[in-house]
Amino acid sequence: MNTELLFAVDTNTKEVIVSESPKGTNKVNFIERISYNDNEILYNAVVTLTSITKATNFDASAFKSMDKVCQMLYGKYKE
């Protein structure tokens, strides 16, 4: 694993933005956009992940757990 998977949501288009960042660099490579209709569960998981990052009391362990869930869901989607 020389890259980190990154997830974000575009609430306007109701899409999940999936990107990757090679380790040791500050660059981000766009991978794909997944619409809400294609994978509702992944979309909702990334929405939850976003709400964790924007919470006033940031919970690092909750973020890591939710990030793992998102990675797992994305892995299943790609199978």
Binding site: F7, A8, I17, K23, N26, K27, T53, F63, K64
Partner: protein
């Protein structure tokens, strides 16, 4: 052996207190947090392509690499911002506490040989960085 350990521990403590350990490196967790928080788009123009992580307060001006000081910018906006506070392309402020291109590192000054003469009439051999071109003795 014991004194060596104490010396190393003291050195480590001094380094951590002085903040020399501050790194430009952005951790994997920070990258994930910032990408999700910023919605995977440039915080200046809204583009989602060719993105880069940027220090809000430039690293050269003493900015840290914690999530609160990192943002997503596209390559064009990041190059335009550089270590200032403004993206010149979109004329938007995308940084804080910028030192306007001046780094916090000590500037190197050029020194020249003093133009004064000694009591014996010989040329002074002292180096000076004074604008007058003379050392403190002359």
């Amino acid at each position: 052996m014991k004194t060596k350990k104490i010396f190393l521990l003291t050195l480590l403590l001094i380094i951590s207190i002085c903040g020399f350990s501050q790194s430009r490196y952005i951790s994997a967790t920070t990258k994930k947090i910032v990408f999700t928080r910023d919605g995977g788009v440039c915080q200046c123009c809204g583009s989602s392509y060719r993105l880069e992580y940027d220090h809000i307060t430039p690293f050269s001006c003493g900015g840290s690499s914690s999530p609160s000081n990192i943002q997503l910018l596209c390559m064009k906006c990041n190059r335009s911002k550089s270590n200032s506070c403004v993206c010149k392309i979109h004329s938007r402020t995308v940084g804080t506490n910028c030192c306007n291109g001046k780094t916090t590192k000590k500037a190197t000054t050029t020194s020249t040989q003093c133009t004064g003469t000694t009591k014996k009439g010989a040329r002074c051999k002292k180096k000076t960085s004074n604008s007058s071109g003379r050392c403190h003795l002359h």
